[in-house]
């Protein structure tokens, strides 16, 4: 009984220490002495790695998710003669939920795991220590550009995801199943609100971007510098990011769209 209590205590303390280290990394990378102009080229390079290279998976999944939603929604809505509401159904589910959430999950799998592995390997091969030897702060030189690149790229990816998904819904709903093109767009326009739906979706995806990139760089920076440690850190990045995104999504939805 006593040893069980001690285990619980040790586990809690470890978690708290990890949160503390993560906050230190965030502080050192973002808040303490930022050099936006000097590090801007590094951010561009990282945006290419995490943003541009994720574009294909985002566009393809967005297209297919929009198409599937139009197909599924149509079979239900047509029973009530309400297939004109297909547009708002596809647009609202993409803008409010699927766009930010699925983008964040894909981003964690595609870019987050790569960030963790890269930084972890830098640590294992003592590149980070070498930087410190040369009086270059690895937090500012390595971590900060990756954090910023993730934070900027992911909301953009989420917007592209939603837009492509709506086009996919149009492809299936209008061009294939024969929903009226005018009612697809006009009822969508009448239903979707700029602030309520689009801006809230972007806010969601900014929060997810922050959480996913933070977890990714922290797991890499904090990894045990062995091959086993890096593999564990990469797995944990994907698992923790996905859980955090899904959990936060409920909280944010309750705050934004709840009563």
């Amino acid at each position: 009984m006593v040893s069980w209590l001690a285990d619980v205590g040790a586990g809690t303390l470890n978690k708290l220490r990890a949160i503390g280290r993560a906050t230190q990394i965030l502080w050192g990378a973002v808040v303490a002495k930022p050099q936006p102009i000097k590090h801007f080229p590094l951010v561009i390079k990282q945006m290419h790695v995490v943003g541009v290279k994720s574009l294909s998976i985002i566009v393809v999944s967005g297209l297919f998710i929009g198409m599937v939603m139009a197909l599924q929604g149509y079979t239900i809505l047509v029973d009530y003669g309400a297939e004109g509401s297909l547009g708002p159904m596809v647009a609202l589910s993409l803008l409010r939920e699927l766009g930010p959430v699925v983008t964040a999950l894909l981003f964690a799998g595609r870019a987050g795991s790569a960030l963790t592995a890269e930084i972890g390997l830098m640590k294992a091969t003592e590149q980070l220590s070498s930087l410190e030897m040369m009086a270059v702060d690895p937090l500012r030189r390595i971590i900060a550009p990756r954090l910023w690149a993730g934070l900027i790229s992911m909301p953009m990816l989420a917007i592209i995801f939603s837009a492509v998904g709506i086009i996919g819904g149009h492809l299936v709903g209008v061009d294939w199943l024969g929903v009226d093109a005018g009612s697809y767009w006009s009822i969508m326009q009448a239903t979707v609100e700029w602030e309520e739906d689009v801006v809230n979706g972007v806010i969601k995806s900014i929060v997810f971007a922050f959480v996913v990139t933070w977890i990714s760089v922290f797991k890499g920076y904090d990894a045990v510098p062995t091959s086993e440690g890096i593999s564990k850190a990469t797995t944990e990045t994907v698992v923790y990011s996905s859980l955090a995104v899904l959990g936060l999504d409920f909280v944010l939805t309750a705050l934004m769209f709840g009563i």
Binding site: Y80, G81, G84, A163, V164, S183, W194, V198
Partner: protein, 155 residues
Amino acid sequence: MASRKIELMVGLFVVIAFAATMMLAMKVANQGMSGNGDTYQLLAKFDNIGGLKPRSAVKVGGVTIGRVEKIFLDPDDYTPVVELAIFKEYNEFPETSSVSILTSGLLGEQYIGFQPGFTFDGIEMLKEGDYIEDTKSALVLEDLIGQFLFSRDND
């Protein structure tokens, strides 16, 4: 040179994201998507337009011949005026034509049903900017229920 290429790709990424934002904004701002092909404008006055919206369809026997361009209130007699954009290929409607606001299905969206009139001597074709005189307003379900209850009381 390699970094130039990376900058180019990131620039492209930003432009695509901006285009996607614009697309989402247009959907909300309710502009763009200006139909397909040339149109001409007809006007119709209604007592009540119910749930008619801009970009609703105008149909003859189920075939879409145009869209509702805009809806505004006549400043003189406070009746709603609906501006219809009819495709140029359907430009042979006599001025005895009538329009009514119909609902597709029980819960569906509202559209304008266009009934072409008869042609005989002295009847001209509808031109750009003409008013369609014969209009039937939207059925408002609440009014209908009210009338039904009222008529039951009389029995």
